[in-house]
């Protein structure tokens, strides 16, 4: 009789294989999907990435930011600047955006971390507003009314329509899967263990030598960098930018929060489920315009009050499953 400790379960192994298969199918999407399909899938990946990152911030590190649009917009503007002024391959802008997000998050984090809880939330919002208002002052980037990505930039991105669409889609896929992978890996690491401990009890974890502020700060900075990279992709998808659209609190915070709350905050699977629900609802209800947004808000409120762990939290509890396990359990042989 022997017992061992493992993370994997039968379900998680099957999920892992299916996930790889799904990634392979998605990778081939430029060959089987239409332009509209690719566009929709690309946007789906943007929201999977943004939702996973916000979930890491709010659901695991307890940092409820309503100002992540600051970093989305930063990435948007960096891609535009690289395209307008440097004439190099636009994909170079993606790591540059990530780096810029990190560099700016260092002082911004120091500042907003002086506020706690809900005040932190609004503080991050003020920062995003500052970014937006500053962007509106930069006339070479279109000022308040915005600017379009020049055609020659798109020609550098890909010689034919097929390659342009494929490159943008693969970038979206890489960022979506990349965000999920980083969140998953981070949560399985010592940092993940520390975050879980902090979530369960700040006092106890700090007495065990966990430097709470430093870990939260590190998570904030990492998420900022990744979020800016997603922003740089958004410029390629939309081709036209403006301060109001790039730093939109609705598009990059409200929807993201609703996705995470509906899917299941504090679970890795939640943001994926939430994004699926969001896109399904949008497909059927978007014609209703403002009523659709009210339904989305109402759904998030009801879920927060009735089932605060969201759809995936409910499923995981009911059937005791986890597709991407981060904890350990003992497997014994009788």
């Amino acid at each position: 009789m022997s017992a061992r400790i493992t993370r994997a379960t039968t379900v998680s192994r099957i999920a892992g294989v299916l996930a790889l298969l799904l990634v392979a199918i998605l990778f081939a999407a430029p060959w089987w999907g239409s332009t509209a399909n690719l566009r929709l899938l690309g946007e789906f990946m943007v929201y999977v990435a943004l939702a996973s990152l916000w979930n890491l911030l709010a659901g695991y590190a307890g940092l409820v930011s309503v100002g992540q649009q600051a970093y989305v917009g930063l990435g948007v503007y960096i891609m535009m600047s690289v395209g307008l002024f440097l004439g190099i391959h636009p994909l170079f802008a993606v790591p540059v955006a990530g780096l810029a997000g990190i560099i700016l998050a260092v002082p911004v984090g120091k500042l907003v971390f002086r506020l706690q809880g809900a005040y932190f939330a609004i503080g991050t919002w003020v920062v995003a507003e500052v970014f937006r208002l500053v962007a509106a002052q930069v006339t070479v980037l279109g000022g308040g009314s915005g600017i379009s990505l020049p055609i020659n930039v798109m020609k550098i991105l890909g010689a034919t329509k097929f390659w342009r669409e494929a490159t943008i889609f693969w970038l979206a896929l890489a960022l979506g899967i990349g965000a999920l992978t980083i969140v998953y890996m981070l949560l399985r690491s010592r940092i993940g263990l520390a975050l879980t401990a902090i979530r369960d009890s700040e006092v106890a974890s700090s007495s065990l030598g966990i430097n709470i502020d430093r870990i939260k700060y590190a998570v904030y900075i990492t998420v900022a960098g990744m979020t800016a990279m997603v922003g740089s992709l958004i410029t390629l998808q939309k081709l036209r930018i403006s301060p109001d659209a790039a730093f939109s609190v609705n598009d990059y915070t409200a929807f993201v929060i609703f996705i995470v709350v509906i899917g299941g905050i504090g679970t890795i699977e939640g943001p994926i489920v939430g994004t699926l629900v969001y896109f399904l609802l949008r497909e059927f209800l978007a014609d209703l315009g403002s009523i659709y947004l009210m339904i989305l808000g109402l759904l998030a409120i009801v879920i927060m009050l009735v089932a605060p762990k969201g759809i995936w939290g409910f499923i995981a509890q009911r059937w005791k499953i986890s597709l991407f396990p981060t904890g350990y359990h003992v497997v014994g042989k009788e």
Binding site: V64, L115, G117, A118, A121, L133, L305
Partner: protein, 288 residues
């Protein structure tokens, strides 16, 4: 003289920001709730007042006789029906629920009143002014706004520290369990605090509507101004909130004079500066 004028006008506008902030400060003090929908509620009340004025032909300031009780009833019901259920150890539920409320209110206003901007018409009061110094005219309306802010904050201060209701607020804020032992049901105490907050929201909403055009989407901006005034002034200090509002108003007025695009930005930057130099605000009274 032009700068004296700018600073004085900024101080007068600061009264409005103090009104935005007073309700936030009150609610945070009593139940540690930060209501993200606060700005949208102010704008919502401005629309209610607009409807009341349309229906009755009252002067918007007189419409407060109807709007304040209506707002208080909404506040009481909102607290009893929804917000009380979000309060506990976790900061997520109140934040996310009020964030959802904010989106719902904006879109409900859009649905009910369209995207057109409206204004409350207070008649000759809007343009009446008297000269204070050569080149410095004081408008009666902005002055009334500042006087009202002082009166509201003075009133809240009196209520908090001199009345039985204020004692109930402070007791529940300090220790809800022990207050319950003394017969204070925190759910009711919170609901009364929210009703009171809505009375302030109603006054703020009507002044907002008289001062300038408003539309369904300007709530978040008002929330941010109120929030900045609270933090600049110092958490938990109502008079500090008034000073915070005035500092914000003056910063914006100076920014606007330098460059029209810098008005709001200047206010944000002063707020961030205060946060960097005095993270607990200029006159803190309690910890966040």
């Amino acid at each position: 003289m032009i700068w004296v004028n700018i600073i004085i006008q900024g101080i007068l506008v600061g009264g409005l920001y103090a009104l935005f902030a007073a309700g936030l400060s009150l609610i945070f003090g009593v139940m540690r709730l930060v209501n993200i929908a606060h700005g949208d509620l102010i704008v919502g009340v401005a629309f209610i007042a607009w409807s009341v004025v349309q229906a009755t032909g009252l002067n918007p300031l007189l419409s407060l006789v109807i709007v304040v009780p209506v707002a208080m009833a909404i506040g009481y019901a909102l607290q009893r029906g929804i917000l009380n259920r979000t309060l506990g150890g976790d900061i997520l539920p109140p934040l996310l629920v009020t964030f959802g409320l904010s989106v719902i209110i904006q879109n409900a206003l859009l649905e009910g009143y369209t995207a057109d901007s409206r204004k409350l018409n207070a008649g000759t009061l809007e343009t009446a002014s008297f000269p204070l110094l050569p080149g410095v005219d004081i408008g009666y309306l902005p002055l009334l706004q500042l006087v009202t802010a002082v009166a509201v904050i003075g009133g809240l201060q009196y209520l908090f520290y001199r009345t039985a209701l204020g004692r109930a607020f402070r007791a529940t804020s300090d220790d809800a369990e022990t207050a319950l032992l003394m017969g204070l049901d925190k759910r009711k105490v919170y609901a009364w605090a929210m009703a009171l907050c809505f009375a302030v929201i109603a006054i703020a909403g009507v002044f907002l509507g008289i001062r300038a055009n408003f539309d369904p989407f300007m709530g978040p901006g008002r929330l941010i101004f109120g929030f900045e005034a609270v933090i600049i002034g110092g958490l938990g200090n109502l008079w500090g909130t008034l000073v915070g509002g005035i500092i914000l108003g003056v910063s914006q007025a100076i920014g606007a004079q330098l460059n029209p695009g810098w008005q709001v930005l200047a206010g944000h930057l002063v707020f961030l500066l205060v946060l960097a130099v005095r993270p607990r605000g200029l006159f803190p009274r309690m910890t966040g």
